[in-house]
Assembly symmetry: C2
Homo-oligomer: 295 residues x 2
Amino acid sequence: MAVHGGAGANAESMTAEELAAVENALEDCLREAAVFLEGRGSALDCAELVVRKLEDDPNFNAGRGAVFNSRGEHELDASIMDGRDLSCGAVAGVKTVKNPVALARLVMSQTRHVLLAGDGAEEFADENGVERVENSYFSTPARRADWERKQRYSKGTVGCVVRDVEGNLAAATSTGGLSNKKWGRVGDSPIPGAGCYADNRTCAVSCTGTGEEFIRRAIAFDLGARMRYGSMNLEEAALETLAALPDNCGGFIAVDKAGRVVMPYNTPGMSRGWATSSGEMMWGVGQTLKSLLFK
Amino acid sequence: MAVHGGAGANAESMTAEELAAVENALEDCLREAAVFLEGRGSALDCAELVVRKLEDDPNFNAGRGAVFNSRGEHELDASIMDGRDLSCGAVAGVKTVKNPVALARLVMSQTRHVLLAGDGAEEFADENGVERVENSYFSTPARRADWERKQRYSKGTVGCVVRDVEGNLAAATSTGGLSNKKWGRVGDSPIPGAGCYADNRTCAVSCTGTGEEFIRRAIAFDLGARMRYGSMNLEEAALETLAALPDNCGGFIAVDKAGRVVMPYNTPGMSRGWATSSGEMMWGVGQTLKSLLFK
């Protein structure tokens, strides 16, 4: 499996504390996922588990810690997809749902729809007893300072891709979107095919970066399309897909049906890591990755 | 160019008046588009022009005449895409914008975003002086009866794909969504890559049908991907893309860079037609199409 915490991260411009917090969060996710998968946990459950953890962590731009839109509010997007049957669920523009990825999972399992947006999505949360919080829950002092500087990039979207021991694939992505985004803006994260995709025939993908560039190129779907129709392997397809994006735009993580992982990006850094159910792990923000075999 | 008025249409189950109204509307669009293109109008302008006409026509499920959601309201989705540079714009869940496709065009040209949803999209409409109407403007007696019967299919989404005399491609799609849809539900129509796509390297596509099935397979993008990576022509790619959809799910129209058109569907009927700048036209709802060379 692999995880990312956004392509906005840049080890050089982060303080030592910020970097340590992100690295520790990635390491925690990798350890927990490796144990979960070794215990025959499903790819879909693992993807949700990891993304929920990162939504709860204020060091990432998803759930708690999400960026502010142009009105000083938080609007959250998330999606999840099951590579077994292409079932997927997503929510866009929710303001009070503590864990958007969990609501996306319910859209997948409990409705005939794929994507619910705004107040309708929140009403659906209430119908299903999903935890809601005040919009201010998502705010953190660092996020407010970021908003006030109107910085375009934040620490980033989070995502997870998984191949489980059965060989099934799943992906999930969650975000607060672009800092200072226009009210109502929907990025790639809640769009299957753009910011998230999983298909057992090819690969599972989660993206991070300037969402508009990922939507217009259907990046998450494109990676698997190059594999299926162009007979490329994951590494070849990933290089070509990344090359189709503008410079300094973002990156993605992907795992194929054989368990191979890629984590390319064209920004200065991307917080990311991978782990196997046998306990191998690598993670980091810049070019140098830490590694561990924890069993 | 080609146009569609939805894959929900079925000539056998329509009254003679309903059928004539749809056929006449298609014919009007084709004539106007052919003249426009012969005058060197751009693909992008032509796609918007045609979809606006169909939004204003209560015989289609887009703009005036849109279906009701589960709360008895209208929520409209639309998108537009320019094959020259992959620029695109879309709106989802708007309730008071008379011509959603025109607002989608402004999202494309006036913002750094691709997709605006809900109240944020309506505020953007106001900022740009876009005409707004009461939600009841979209209601028609036929739509209300349809809603009360909770029918799943309506007369359908509208869309247009165009290759202009310069060889540029564009696509646009607009819809009221599924009848009785859950409040906040977003379908494929406002999602580039799902219900709408245009890329000068391959083709322009507009889809109609059960949107969720089009999102999870990124159908509008998939068609071009099969052409680019699988070296298929438009006809071959269209057959395979249609075959990937569940039975009785919908259809799409597409035009490639050479001006070839396909209009496949797997429902009982799809209102559709094509025209060339030299005045050739074919259109209809069921298997038999009318044709005309009007110059």
